[in-house]
Amino acid sequence: MGDLGHLSLLGALLLAALAAATSLLGAWRERDDLLESGRRALYGACALVVVAALALAAAFQLHDFSIRYVAENSSRLMSPLDTLASFWGGQAGSLLFWALGLALLSALSVWRTQRRSPWLVPVMAGTLALILLFFLGILTLIASPFERVPVAPPDGRGLNPILLDTGMRIHPPLLLSGYMSYSVPFAITVAALVTGRLGNDWLRALRPWLLAAWTIQGCGLLAGAWWAYHVLGWGGYWGWDPVENVALLPWLVATALLHSVMVQERRGMLKVWNVGLLLAAFNLSIFGTFVVRSGVISSVHSFAQSAIGPYFFGFLGATLVVTLSLLFYRLPDLRSEGEFDALVSRESSFLFNNLLLVAMTAATFWGTIFPLVSEAIQGTRVAVGPPYFQAVNGPILLALLLLMGIGPLLAWRRSSAASLRRNFLAPIAVGLASGLVLVALGMRQLWATVAFAAAAFVFMTITQEFWRGVRARMRAGEPAPVALVGLVRRNRRRYGGYVVHLGMVFVALGIIGSTFFQQDHGLRLARGESATVGRYTLTNEGLFQETQPGRQEVYAQMAVQADGALLDVIRPGKHTYVNWEQQPTSSISITTTWPWLEDLYVVLVSPNADGSASLQVFVNPLVSLIWLGGVLFLLGTVIAAWPERPRLGTPRPLVSRPQAVAVEA
């Protein structure tokens, strides 16, 4: 298996080099035969990377411990599913996963673009082949997952128990795929810049890939938050750690792009800005991989510090120089065709949304690299913690939330006073009313109240849009559910966008609730003793021990009562895995309760010899809305990305479509 994998990677390396050379030479000399062989070489490299990845997966399942990576990241005791996750448990496998995703996406995007916008393909295929070449070079020469150990151990070391979780199975591959998938929009941008065809065509070719990258990475970030919340046991889901921040940066830039691209499509403006953002998104994703893998910024995610850092830095520098020169060379072709007429217009709201997102990117980037800057310039080592990021990004996020409600209701160019009244009366009323209700219910935190009111306002704007659309169709005689489905189907981008916005409102509600209203108590309960936290009474019913294959479990059985009635029996515990005795992992108990969607989050800090349990108890309101928001986010992007027109070959409707009022969100 090891030899097969290694040889496949070498073969893929050669084919990627061939693909890059023939594609770029063919583009330069305009020779179709070279271009054809370039594409074939790229498909071939893709196939060989798939073979290498299958070889590694098979080596894991067959417990081939003669391969160092397999011995270090899996053991015979692990279930086949966990063994599968060991693939990306370490650095070399993560890089192979990166290469695998990149190879598949490259082949798919080149194949699809060849059918729709063939003029983009030569440079695009060449660029993708070069990126693939870089990763394959690292994989074959510096960090090979197929490296052998002299003597195969009888059993492997196993995966770090903290990584043995459903989250581990989905979060790293999603995040890695997210990083990697910015390569396709980047390659299309480079192709557009090189060919100089900078109209709207390349944006149309690019949009689905950008949306895909953005969605995958968004899901990766949410899955990471979910994993941290359910596994790490500090009661939170986002710690503003450097490794988290660098993953957020390209996503923020891509969010800005998805909006500003519409301004370019519609009004021919912001062209340089958009190209700049596209280049930034890709460079930030490489920067993210570099920071995660090089250890230049100290982080609680202490990955192995390895030799690949300088290579990534070189790659980053080279892409920056090449892409900035290209952009500079094409500046005259990127002149704006329109101008911002009014402050209160759709395009201005997009502009402000972009400025806010870029400001947030810049502030987060600055906070993340500040320790490096400080050490280099002042010679003092400092740490920038969550307070900085909360202080700066909190207001920006609130402004973004408000804009999310305002923007979609503004008209292009300028909005009349009458339309403003018509669109904003109800949402503003709902927002103000919810603020007042919250104050009446006893909420005294100013910013929490403002933020909740803003969320209610945005919620109402979206509901109003759906309601108006549905009502118009119901007047035409459609029953409500049919009207809703028809409405969304006719304007997928617009209503998919609204569903994403709705998801973001829920995420915002969860963040506001858990940021402002988290309760945190340390308790020690003797056997039979009770304590009250908020509206919950916890009773320690005793400590228990169980032996499972590969691990020992200790848990405290606790009865939870809320308002006098038994709510649940929970078992927060600690698991000790074979080979990892020094590092027991917490098994956190999370109970979500009605009506405030509070998570009762209980961590067993230590089971004590006298039968008492030391516990850390958090009450986290509204956190489940974050995960609900994540589901809506995914649903919305799927709606928005679904192909609008029926494909060739499927029968088209005989009757021409009714002229929809073409307002794209």
Binding site: N160, G239, E339, S374
Partner: protein, 132 residues
């Protein structure tokens, strides 16, 4: 071209964010020191982060108050730490590298509110975190 009014809003926004970022950076960054650096600076009311290795045999847990006492050390110095934040990172143990955030009190003890542990870097992809 961009109309002056639109431009003005953009500029105001940029300045506001830059101002916010710089002032927050001044008030929220903390020094990141080794044990010996902190010892040579002496006690202070300022919050700092200190990094060191947990001394073998120094960990004492008081289960009734969830207080954790231990000593961090580096090549040249050692410092007693009291941590009252509650949860400890799963990988917290003797000889593990930890980063504690808190204040170096006049009593010669470091009063930590946050405790982070770093994994022995032999194995990859390890994550651990605990917060107060």
């Amino acid at each position: 071209m961009i109309r002056p009014k639109v431009l003005a809003v953009g500029v105001v926004l940029a300045i506001a964010v830059a101002y916010l970022a710089l002032t927050s950076l001044q008030t929220t960054t903390v020094y990141y020191l080794t044990v010996s650096e902190l010892l040579s600076r002496g006690p202070s009311q300022q919050s700092v982060r200190v990094a060191g290795i947990v001394a073998p045999g120094s960990i004492a847990k008081d289960p009734s108050s969830l207080t954790l006492r231990f000593t961090v050390q580096d090549a040249t110095g050692s410092l007693p730490v009291v941590y009252t934040g509650g949860t400890t990172p799963d990988i917290f143990a003797e000889k593990v590298e930890v980063v504690a955030e808190g204040k170096y009190g006049a009593d010669g003890t470091f009063h930590a509110t946050t405790l982070l542990a770093k994994c022995p870097s032999k194995f990859e992809g390890q994550v651990a975190q605990a917060k107060s």
